[in-house]
């Protein structure tokens, strides 16, 4: 078709202190194609994108846009060249309104003065294109859920008159309907001749929308393929560098434990205004209780109540049959709870502290300042979990912020496992995690269950819930709608329960 590709990156190299993040990577994207950029956590996808958009300076290589050599020094330069980007973590300003976030830097108005009316109107139009009329453009961005923020970020990127659109894991926190909407827009843009780079860990999505795939592994290029010519298993083995089998279907041993199994936590009508209506939950030892629901159905809120982050307006929590006050995470941890939050950046990592310190932190906090873990104990824990979870880090002393998103998530998991909890709440544990690691985490969930630990699993991926849960509680509009046990759990039933009566097409 077209002679020169829209974007050519040749021999890109990027080093960070102690890490070679990229070496000799090529990427070329044509106009009118959706190009998947795939690889395991830490493969260098985000880094490649940041080099392209001027966030990082590149050490080696060359970037050609429309055949002309460019070298953006700042994200602004990149935008001026016609590259519009949605970065991996939501990167907007939570304290400003939605309208402002969409318009920031290119607000309508003369001589630097703003026209607020036009700004709002424009924001509404932009959101309408993504079918997001429900969002109040005057609302503070931070008051929206992560998913909604993500959608606003995408809306902002689409607003630019760009030649090349980059989406770094935009779908990690979106539900199916939102993903479908996004894909529709992507296809339309593709039709308009845009080139799109799309990073995701969902292989279904890769096959649903992309035309071509570039695979990275360990900072190096593996190859470029046509999506249609690369079967799924092949793709996975390219990504992780070894042969794999398809994810095992729901195994037979996922029968719910008998009702007389020891119940670790029981909530009786706990509720919080504006977050969740009174809800009864029984979480048992040796079970994986899935919490399913659409975005905003109140799953995270429920978990936060149980873990004592938010205080409940009413209801009781019973731990092993005894009523306990649950007013702080500290108390929850003392009862043997653990909680892996969905918002890793804000609620999870201690960014400037080392992997080691992050990993032992919850255990140390539980023991208090005086009962210090010796260095040997710390190193034993670190070595154990870094190997067990295959955490990719330059050393135990590397600051965790220098790890890729997925590896940060694994360190956080390790942090909680180290406390040897009786109940572990996993809120979107596989968000932003590559396929290899995802399977490992699922195996881990099975192992935890087998070890007699109660697991509360929140996930937006129905398949994941189905594959892993012995019992599923479905929430809809901040209310428990039903509870499925054992063989009752199948995707279509779940879907129906989640969507409820007013199902959209």
């Amino acid at each position: 078709m077209s002679s020169t590709p829209l974007l050519q990156m040749r021999g890109i190299g990027k080093r960070f202190p102690g890490v070679v993040a990229l070496a000799g990577v090529d990427l070329s994207v044509r106009s009118g194609e959706i190009h998947a950029l795939l690889g395991e956590n830490g493969a260098g996808k985000s880094t490649l994108i940041k080099v392209l958009t001027g966030v990082y300076s590149l050490d080696d290589g060359q970037i050609l846009l429309d055949g002309k050599s460019v070298r953006p020094a700042t994200p602004k330069d990149a935008e001026d060249c016609g590259i519009s980007t949605v970065y991996q973590e939501v990167n907007l300003i939570p304290a400003l309104s939605v309208a402002e976030n969409i318009g920031l830097g290119r607000q309508p108005g003369k001589l630097g003065f703003l026209n607020w009316g036009a700004l709002r109107r424009h924001a509404r139009e932009v959101l309408a294109r993504l079918d997001l009329q429900s969002i109040d453009v005057d609302a503070e961005l931070g008051s929206l859920s992560v998913a909604m923020q993500q959608m606003v970020a995408i809306a902002r990127a689409l607003d630019l008159k760009a030649k090349l659109l980059i989406l770094d894991e935009p779908t990690a926190s979106l539900d199916e309907k939102e993903v479908a909407d996004l894909f529709a827009v992507m296809r339309r843009l593709k039709g308009e001749g845009l080139g799109i780079i799309f990073v995701t860990h969902f292989l279904d999505q890769v096959y649903a929308v992309t035309d071509r795939i570039t695979v990275l592994r360990n900072g190096a290029l593996v190859g470029e393929y046509l999506t249609a010519e690369l079967p799924r298993l092949k793709l996975v083995s390219r990504m992780i560098g070894r042969e794999v089998h398809d994810n095992a279907p729901r195994s037979a041993d996922l029968k719910a434990v008998a009702d007389n199994a020891e119940c670790v936590v029981e909530t009786k009508g706990i509720a919080r205004r504006g977050a969740i209506n009174p809800i009864d939950l029984t979480i048992r030892k040796g079970e994986v209780t899935g919490l399913a629901g659409l975005l905003g159905s109140g799953r995270s809120e429920t978990a936060r109540l149980i873990f004592g982050i938010d205080s409940a307006d009413g209801g009781e929590i019973h731990v092993k049959g005894k009523k306990v006050p649950m007013s702080s995470p500290r108390e929850a941890i003392a009862h043997g709870f653990a909680f892996c939050s969905e918002d890793r950046k804000v609620e999870g990592i201690l960014p400037n502290l080392s992997v080691r310190e992050n990993l032992i932190f919850a255990l140390q906090a539980k023991r208090g300042a005086w009962k210090t873990l010796s260095h040997e104990e710390q190193m034993t824990l670190c070595n154990h979990y870094i190997t067990a979870l295959r955490i990719k880090t330059a050393s135990t002393e590397t600051a965790i912020r220098n790890l890729s998103g997925g590896n940060q998530q694994k360190v956080l998991l390790a942090r909680w496992l180290a406390t040897q909890p009786e109940l572990i709440i996993l809120d979107e544990p596989t968000r932003g995690i590559d396929i290899g690691a995802r399977a490992e985490i699922e195996q881990l969930i099975h192992k935890l269950r087998a070890d007699g630990i109660a697991v509360l699993l929140i996930s937006s991926e129905i398949e994941e819930i189905v594959r892993n849960s012995t019992r599923v509680v479905v929430l809809r509009e901040r209310r428990k709608t039903c509870e499925l046990v054992g063989d009752e759990i199948d995707p279509s039933r779940l879907m129906r329960a989640m969507a409820g009566g007013h199902e959209t097409s």
Binding site: N91, I93, A95, L96, Q107, L114
Partner: protein, 320 residues
């Protein structure tokens, strides 16, 4: 709740407490409830208020500027000396404002380019400007110039007893300009964005460096302007003016509901901050019985009460 009210809750609560404060002082002290007390609040706090407007912008961007008091002093003494040497006040105003701008740009550059904490660099700026002020002259100097004389006598009379001096008018004008800059220009919104998250602002393609440096430049220029207003107010230049002014200025911004960490705030809040601050000062003067030690303790207690009340209102209404 009305979304407008919800969004502007800190502002509305500040206004409400100000009214409460002013009303109770009026009840307690004869003659407090008068136009001239209100006018005095503006004219007596003109220097402080103008620096607070600039400080608001810097704090929007998550920065801070400890040098404003010293810049006020430096400007006042430097312009006094120049005028006494026979320079025209107009030309002098131009010089000192440019100097202020340069100084701010210098600090802003150090802060942004060398990634240094604003607290430290502006602390150094404070020492620098203070020392330079004393270097120019370590004694205060009267300004005798016909233009100055007529400007400092200028008053806008409202009714019989209320005369609004030029300094108060200049403060009001500065607040209006500050309001427009903060809320109706790209620059102002970029400041808030940077304060909200500098990393995000950068990724969103905003001119982070230029905006930050411009904020410090503007702030120092305003401080220089405040220095000029101080020369009008006192008819002299004085190298030891404004010691501790920066902390008062920051306190005003905070009273106004602007988050010290940056990214959230409102210029109208600063207006109320000035009013609250001025009202507390006036009430203490009307009382006239507190000794120096008690003045400090009472001011501190009132500040604390005010801030707590503000939070209580915001919290209780936000819950509903």
């Amino acid at each position: 709740m009305n979304p407008f009210v919800r969004r502007n809750l800190p502002l509305i609560s500040t206004a409400a407490i100000f009214i409460l404060l002013f009303a109770s002082a009026s009840l307690k002290y004869d003659g407090f409830f008068s136009g001239s007390v209100l006018v005095n609040i503006f004219s007596d706090n003109a220097v402080l208020g103008i620096t607070a407007v600039g400080m608001t912008l810097v704090i929007f961007a998550g920065g801070i500027d400890l040098s404003v008091g010293a810049v006020v002093a430096y400007t006042s003494i430097f312009s006094a000396i120049l005028i006494q040497r026979g320079e025209h006040p107009g030309a002098v105003a131009f010089y000192v404002l440019s100097l202020g701008a340069l100084f701010g740009a210098f600090m802003g550059t150090l802060i942004h380019v060398f990634k240094q904490p604003a607290f430290l660099i502006t602390l150094a700026g404070m020492f620098l400007a203070r020392g330079m002020g004393f270097w120019v002259s370590n004694e205060s100097t009267s300004i005798t110039h016909p233009l100055y004389d007529s400007l400092s006598r200028f008053e806008l009379s409202i009714g019989e007893n209320v005369h609004v001096p030029l300094t108060a008018l200049l403060l009001l004008a500065t607040i209006v300009v500050g309001y427009v800059v903060a809320h109706f220009t790209r620059f102002g919104r970029n400041l808030l964005a940077i304060g909200g998250s500098e990393q995000s602002a950068l990724l969103m393609g905003l001119p982070v460096g230029a905006t930050k440096i411009a904020a410090y430049t503007l702030n120092s220029t305003l401080a220089a302007f405040a220095g000029l207003v101080a020369t009008l107010y006192t008819g002299s230049g004085n190298p030891s003016l404004g010691v501790g002014l920066e902390l008062d200025s920051i306190a005003i911004v905070v009273i106004g509901g602007t988050l010290l960490a940056g990214g959230r705030g409102h210029m109208i809040g600063t207006l109320f901050g000035i009013l609250v601050f001025g009202t507390i000062q006036s009430a203490i003067l009307f009382d006239g019985r507190l000794d120096s030690a008690w003045v400090r303790i009472v001011v501190a207690a009132l500040l604390l009460t005010f801030i707590l009340l503000q939070r209580a209102i915001v919290r209780s209404t936000a819950k509903r």
